[in-house]
Symmetry: C2
Subunit: 469 residues, 2 copies
């Protein structure tokens, strides 16, 4: 969530080769660190953490057992760099904040950009947050409170309030001199463009820093400024922001209020985290997991998975009821029981395929406007073709196995039908859920897989009843 | 893949509001565009495409039917901006290259950075590529050929050869003057940092452009340069590069050869595409789809999905064979056939959950070193707990439904076992596949789901045979 300030240079160049290689912490360092925690060697912990980049320090801490982690946080106290805490996984960060004193957290918020500080404080209980906010500087407090006033996962939360703005009538030289002198303390650590505003602070355009650097000092900013491809508002959903960054290859983007006034800046490092998060959410949601993390406890892992299993318990018994409707034909032909998993399993897989493709296409905004009808047609046709190939291959196997042309015919016909159904429901369910404002990845699996199971048993055993009894 | 140069300014400011809003193409524009294709109105097509940002132009083209797309590419010819072609999806880009003349493609490669140019040419058949390469300038050809000499999905392919390097003994003023004058044509469009090299062109450090801008002209570069957190080599896998960019919040990174000499630069916009791609690959792979795209034909969609279904056809019949071993107990107690899908379905879902969590953790590098043993223990315990809850809830339902304590006991015992199995195999399969160098997302589903199906039928029906017959 923050720009790596870099480790202490002299110390790092001596010890880095043995500690972190390509972003992987050396096991020897972890062992040493664990030993130092056991010995209560505060000095070693502080030096090691300080030598590492924040993300590496966070990784090292996450490699500890829960008890060692708590003890390390305790020993480090306010020497724990704020940037490292911001890089911890959600559950580890919560745990760390829980262990830290208010004083340590107050010191940390002073070191962070407003977006990172509010990200940290957002995790705290209401009253503790209020207590800590009352102790930070008035400017920081205002920035953090304004950030927290926006919804979770909105652009307002991602944006920082430090950015560089220059009046539209300035020259390149004036802008550079301004940055060199007046505003040196208020500038963000790193920035990729400066924003050009009119006297009412309304955004007019942007100038990439690399363009600024190359332009002659007397060039008016107006001449080299670029149009902003899209205006990000603080209320915008972070997924939308991520889409716009990808679409227009942005490294940073200005945020403007309703009146078009510049209010903040979002940088790519925060957006990269969003992209990763959203993709991870989709993967987990499609498998019915609400949350996961390397430091998750067994209890929270159970809690993240049991809802989907509970729903599935209900739907599985509905499917079982469908099967029970056909007990007479099952009693007569036990072979049908062998084949039930073939029909339902394969159709279910075809449905999962269609669903994964559709969920990704929706996330990529590839399923919009005239593309929807075309995609549905394509899914139906793909499912029908796959159905024909797989169903009649299965029919052939059944023919060889049971030497019963009727059962073979039943498998072939019913699977052709259920495959087509699977393909259609696999794309229609997420599209419908999206239309009703639900997350297509989260709720689709239930609908899709249950309906395919029921349809498979109903069609297969129903057809068997008609043709065999 | 490239930096958006921005649309023609005067035209865009007049017409943009009605054409593209927040990255979404207005349906009216698509309709107009389709009309112009029908009329062969070359001029309208050219003007519209030129007015749009490359990514929007690509989106507009992808909204067309395959025939309209081909006709549009044909009409646009060499007026199709190279940057828009680079933004097309894989299948659309291939189609476009197929429609374009060699002359048009030669002109395009001249407009692109070497990484984008090689990305484009990589898709062409060997002999056509050679023909086109023989017609581009010697410098461009050398850069493209060197890029193509690296593996697909390597850092060498992602990197561009345009970057700014300054000798370690220069001052800020010298570096700025150099960029303003000598190298103006050779500089990349946008860059975020300059690299500091020794006389042998070995990388010494980097200076962010925003730092350069703020420093006094007489400051030696040596004083403000930062350590490079990690050295990217051209052979490095793109997934590894993406991980390092995320880990260290990078906007760009230098690429060095074995001797530590600076050879290229990778920028975040290309890495964002990689992050998206890799996450998408995992989602699709977990559902058994090898490739997907909005413009994919039915034929390629079938080809992308049939291998997994074919493997599954085989494994489904293995599961059916397992069931067939227990025909005598099924003949006696048809209720078991109703309950088979409950046991297998729920355990399969528990396995999918564990698998999705493990695949994501591996991709995030959260499953390494001492964390592996802890994660396996946690999965086993989570699965056992979930198993106990779900299995005995199912047993209760069965008790109420069938009023048969024996069948209820069989469901409870067998599901407790199969849930634990599902959790363990869900994490062990991807870890084992990774150890053998296979992609954990691609191959795991087959192993995991097949083994759970077989185990479910075997344990459930086996226990039933023991206790009921």
């Amino acid at each position: 969530m923050n720009d790596a300030p870099g480790p202490d240079k002299t110390a790092a160049s001596a010890s880095e080769p043995e500690t972190v290689e390509d972003g992987v912490i050396a096991p020897a360092l972890i062992a040493q660190f664990v030993g130092a925690i056991g010995d209560g060697n505060k000095f070693f912990l502080q030096r090691t953490i300080k030598e590492l980049y924040p993300a590496d320090a966070a990784d090292l801490l996450e490699h500890l057992t829960p008890e060692a982690f708590r003890k390390a946080i305790h020993l480090l106290g306010k020497d724990l760099p704020a940037e490292a805490v911001a890089e911890l996984s959600d559950s580890a960060r919560l745990e760390a904040l829980h262990e830290l004193t208010d004083t340590a957290i107050v010191a940390m918020t002073g070191h962070l950009d407003s977006d990172d500080a509010s990200f940290l404080l957002n995790d705290l209980e209401e009253d503790r947050r209020a207590r800590i906010l009352s102790r930070v500087s008035a400017t920081d407090r205002a920035a953090i409170e304004s950030s927290l006033s926006f919804d979770d996962e909105s652009a307002g939360r991602l944006m920082q309030r430090d950015f560089v703005a220059a009046p539209v009538f300035w020259t390149v030289g004036q802008a550079i001199d301004h940055m060199r002198t007046v505003a040196a303390d208020d500038l963000p650590d790193t920035f990729f463009e400066i924003y050009i505003v009119d006297p009412a602070f309304r955004l007019q355009g942007s100038v990439p820093v690399s363009t600024l650097l190359r332009a002659a000092r007397e060039t008016p900013l107006k001449e080299i400024m670029k149009d902003i491809p899209v205006l990000v508002r603080p209320e915008m959903d972070q997924e939308e922001v991520a889409y716009l960054f990808r679409q227009y290859n942005l490294a940073s983007a200005p945020v403007v209020d309703e009146a078009g006034r510049l209010t903040g800046m979002i940088t790519i490092d925060d957006v990269v985290d969003v992209i990763q998060e959203e993709a991870e959410e989709d993967i987990l949601a499609l498998s019915g997991v609400s949350e996961a993390g390397v430091n998750q406890s067994v209890f929270s892992a159970v809690r993240a998975r049991i809802p989907w299993l509970a729903v599935n318990l209900a739907t599985a018994f509905i499917a079982a009821t469908v099967v029970s409707l056909f007990s007479s034909v099952l009693n007569e032909f036990v072979a049908l029981a062998f084949l039930m998993p073939v029909v339902a399993g394969l159709s279910g897989n075809a449905g999962s395929q269609a669903l994964a493709v559709a969920v990704r296409a929706i996330a990529e905004r590839d399923l919009e406007g005239p593309l929807v009808a075309r995609a549905i047609r394509r899914e139906a046709l793909t499912a029908l073709l796959n159905g024909l190939i797989i169903a009649w291959s299965a029919a052939l196997v059944v023919m060889i196995w049971f030497q019963n042309p009727m059962i073979s015919l039943i498998i072939g016909l019913s699977m052709t039908f259920t495959f087509t159904w699977a393909g259609l429901i696999g794309i229609l369910a997420p599209l419908t859920l999206k239309r009703f404002g639900a997350d297509p990845a989260v709720a689709s699996s239930v609908f899709v897989l249950t309906s395919i199971d029921m349809m498979s048993f109903f069609v297969f055993l129903g057809l068997a009843t008609l043709l065999l009894l």
